[in-house]
Structure formats: structure tokens, C-alpha cells
């Protein structure tokens, strides 16, 4: 590689890193507890397990669970219902708000026992530590612009990773893999650490970074889906007035209807009419596959919320599928506790790479200044000598 080419790549590496390092450090630090959010919620008691019931206890219908949830929060409207019998047996998570169209930050959450239809938990409205970590990590509490900004920082980090790999070649050409020079200078010691941790964590960092960037596009992607596919699926309802809460048909029937349409899939998420994930006239009943891979791919059945007739069932567009498939590779939640621990170790390694990179920049600047002042003082001495 020519000296000039190396220099250009060095500038790319320096500037992309300098701009994104502070945000990447924030993301790595807030991401660390988020890896273990399930465990932390259980440990802090924020996650109440459903009690075990005697055999043969009659199971409540979903419509009964809904009535009890609404009675617990009078005046609120239903938005979403979610359950996952493998992860959270016996539990049903409700999202309510003042109206079904209220913005997502006004959501109120309620956990119900799906078997007894009793309220399990009504979490407090105020943000706890994990909520703060989550919001800093996702959008720095700045909504969609914050999210897209972090996506841009992720793109810079991608450029920084790529340029770092390119520079690894000329730097390490004469040396053995994994060399750490401890006897020369402090700067070389840090440089070698930066190089070895950077090149080894490369693949992980790249995957987590790219999937993070993809996730920042979730809001525009859902908007595009609503304006395109969803509008197309429910085009005959275009001119009808929005359905009101009192007119809603049985959700149990809507779910049964969906199961007929997609017999080998599992229902796990309901969006009410008027919410972000449905039309103004339908229950969107989301189904997913049964294998580890297909369970990441969900698709909505749109059931007329008044008549309980199936209007349409269609796969989500490729861009939403991409987002859903990319999520586990960002969260590290698909391989049990050992994977979470490994995720945390990679995260710590990335933090060290970021800090050592920052150190190298400072050290380089300092040595340049010293060089400059040495040159200046040399020049002065020369002047003095010449004048005499």
C-alpha cells in the first residue's frame, strides 16, 4: 500500500472515530445492563412470576382478561396485548392509553394472569434505572430524531471499523499476531492493545453495529408499511369512520378466526384498531412460526373488529422482516445466559478499544506538540547561534 493511501485511510479512521466515540461509549455502557434486562427485572422484583395453580383450574377466556384489565384502568383504551408462553408462562402483557391513537410514550402497562384473569402487576409510571438505560440507548430521550442520529453514529462506527481493518495490514505487516510491546513506550503498548482487541472483536462489533443501525430505522419502516401494504390490505375500509371501543367484537373469536387461517402458526401479539400496528377498523392478530428462526418472522391477520371476518393475511414487507431478523443479533438474547455473558465480554472489549483509541489520539497530539516545540526551540537555538 502506498504511503499516501495509508495516510488517507488513517484520516478516515481518525475522523469517523473521533466523531462517534463519545456516543459509542454511551451505547456500550447503557447496553451492558440492557443485555441482562430480563434477569435484572426479575432480581429487582419488578417482574412478578405468575403463581402456580392447582391442576384443573378453569382457564379464563381472553375476553374476560380484557374486561378485568379495563376495569382496573377505567377510562383507558386498549392498544396492544402480547404474550409468550415459553418465556413468561401464564402472563399476558397489556398496553393501554387514553386513546388507541395516543403516542407510544403515553402508554400505560399492565400485566395480567392469563389463566385467572387477575391483575398481576401494574408498574409505576416513573422511569426506573433500566428505563433510563433503555431510552438513552435507543434515542437519547430525543424521539425519532435521536434514534436516527444514533443510526448515523453507527454508520460512522462502521466506517471506523472498516478503516481500522485496512490499517491493520500495514501496521502489523512485520509483526506477529497478538504482539503487545511492553518495553518500548506507553503509546506502543496502548496501540498494540487497541490493534489486538480491535481485530479480534471485529466480527462481533460489526454485526452488532449494523443490526443496531438497521433497528434505528424501525419507525420510518412501520410508517412506510402503514402507508403502503397496510393501506392496500384494508383499501375497502378507506372511507369508513374509525371503529369505536363500544363497537368491538370478541377478540377470542378474532383469534380463533386467525388460527383457522394460519393453523400451524402461533398467535402472540394483538394490535387494536387505531394503533400504530393496525388499521382503524381491524384487530391485527400477529402470528409467528414455531422454530427458532421462523419465530422471528411475524405476520398480521387483519380481522374486521366488528364482524370478526378475516379481511387479509399477508407477510410483512422485506424491510420489516429485515428489522425483526436483525434484532436478536443486536440484543444477544437468543442463546441463553452463556451467550449474554459472552455478549457482555465483547461489549467490554469494545469499550477498551474505544478508550484506547481515544488515548492514542491524545498521545499522538501531545507528541506532535512536543515535536513542534522541539523544532521551534531548535530553530531558536539555531538563530541564536547564527546571530553570534
Amino acid at each position: 500500500m502506498k504511503a499516501q493511501t495509508i495516510k488517507s485511510w488513517f484520516y478516515v479512521h481518525k475522523w469517523t472515530s473521533l466523531i462517534c466515540t463519545a456516543f459509542l461509549l454511551m451505547l456500550c455502557l447503557t447496553g451492558l445492563p440492557l443485555i441482562f434486562s430480563e434477569e435484572i427485572h426479575q432480581w429487582t422484583g419488578e417482574d412478578v412470576a405468575a403463581p402456580s395453580l392447582p391442576e384443573g383450574t378453569p382457564k379464563a377466556t381472553i375476553d374476560q382478561v380484557i374486561i378485568n384489565a379495563k376495569n382496573h384502568l377505567p377510562g383507558k383504551e386498549m392498544k396492544y396485548i402480547y404474550w409468550d408462553n415459553d418465556k413468561y408462562p401464564g402472563k399476558m402483557f397489556f398496553t393501554l392509553a387514553d386513546s388507541s391513537g395516543a403516542p407510544e410514550e403515553k402508554n400505560i402497562y399492565l400485566t395480567m394472569d392469563s389463566r385467572t384473569a387477575k391483575v398481576l402487576q401494574a408498574p409505576a409510571d416513573d422511569m426506573d434505572f433500566m428505563d433510563i438505560m433503555f431510552h438513552l440507548h435507543v434515542d437519547m430521550m430525543a424521539g425519532v430524531p435521536g434514534m436516527l442520529f444514533l443510526g448515523f453514529m453507527g454508520l460512522l462506527f462502521t466506517a471506523s471499523i472498516i478503516s481500522g481493518v485496512v490499517l491493520y495490514g500495514p501496521i502489523m505487516k512485520r509483526y506477529d499476531f497478538g504482539m503487545i510491546r511492553t518495553e518500548k513506550s506507553k503509546r506502543l503498548r496502548w496501540l498494540d492493545l487497541h490493534n489486538v482487541l480491535g481485530i479480534v472483536s471485529l466480527a462481533w462489533a460489526f454485526v452488532v453495529c449494523i443490526t443496531g443501525v438497521i433497528n434505528t430505522l424501525a419507525v420510518p419502516a412501520v410508517d412506510a408499511w402503514r402507508a403502503g401494504e397496510l393501506a392496500d390490505m384494508v383499501s375497502e375500509y378507506k372511507d369508513k369512520p374509525q371503529i369505536k371501543e363500544g363497537q368491538l367484537g370478541s377478540l377470542q373469536v378474532a383469534i380463533d378466526r386467525t388460527r383457522q387461517a394460519a393453523p400451524d402458526m402461533e398467535v402472540n401479539f394483538i394490535a387494536y384498531p387505531g394503533t400504530l400496528y393496525s388499521s382503524d377498523h381491524h384487530y391485527a392478530v400477529y402470528v409467528k412460526g414455531n422454530t427458532p428462526l421462523t419465530s422471528r418472522i411475524i405476520k398480521p391477520a387483519l380481522i374486521d373488529a366488528q364482524t370478526n371476518e378475516l379481511t387479509d393475511i399477508r407477510d410483512l414487507p422485506w424491510y420489516l422482516k429485515t428489522i425483526y431478523i436483525s434484532q436478536p443479533f443486536h440484543f444477544g438474547d437468543y442463546g441463553g445466559m452463556p451467550m449474554k455473558v459472552l455478549w457482555a465480554l465483547f461489549d467490554l472489549a469494545t469499550i477498551i478499544v474505544l478508550i484506547s483509541g481515544l488515548y492514542l489520539w491524545f498521545a499522538r497530539r501531545k507528541s506532535k506538540e512536543q515535536q513542534l516545540s522541539r523544532m521551534l526551540s531548535n530553530a531558536e537555538t539555531a538563530n541564536l547561534v547564527n546571530n553570534h
Binding site: V165, M172, K173, V200, G336
Partner: protein, 58 residues
């Protein structure tokens, strides 16, 4: 650059990247055996980082 030096320079980084990708993908393909394979694969780069990185503190 001849093949020998290219291998010496990029052999380990390439091997580690391939093992990492394999570890990341295997856990999504299934549970049980697939998870074990993923843990072993992802442990390798972590082991390498500890093995060489610790010299920084010596």
C-alpha cells in the same frame, strides 16, 4: 506481498472472524447442540483477547 506473509498477517484475523460468525449464526438455527456450538465458538475470540490482552498489564 507473497502468500506466506499474507497468511501470517491475515490468517488469525480471518479465522477468528469466521468462527465468530459461525457462533452468531448457530444459536439462531436451533437450541441444544446449536447453542453449545455457539458458546464454544464465541468463547474462542474472548479467550484470544484475554490471552494476548493480559500482556498489556504485565
Amino acid at each position: 506481498m507473497n502468500n506466506h506473509t499474507a497468511l501470517k498477517l491475515w490468517g488469525m484475523p480471518l479465522l477468528i472472524a469466521v468462527i465468530t460468525f459461525a457462533g452468531l449464526i448457530s444459536a439462531i438455527l436451533g437450541t441444544g447442540m446449536w447453542h453449545y456450538m455457539s458458546w464454544v465458538a464465541l468463547s474462542y475470540p474472548v479467550y484470544i483477547m484475554v490471552k494476548y490482552g493480559r500482556r498489556f498489564f504485565s
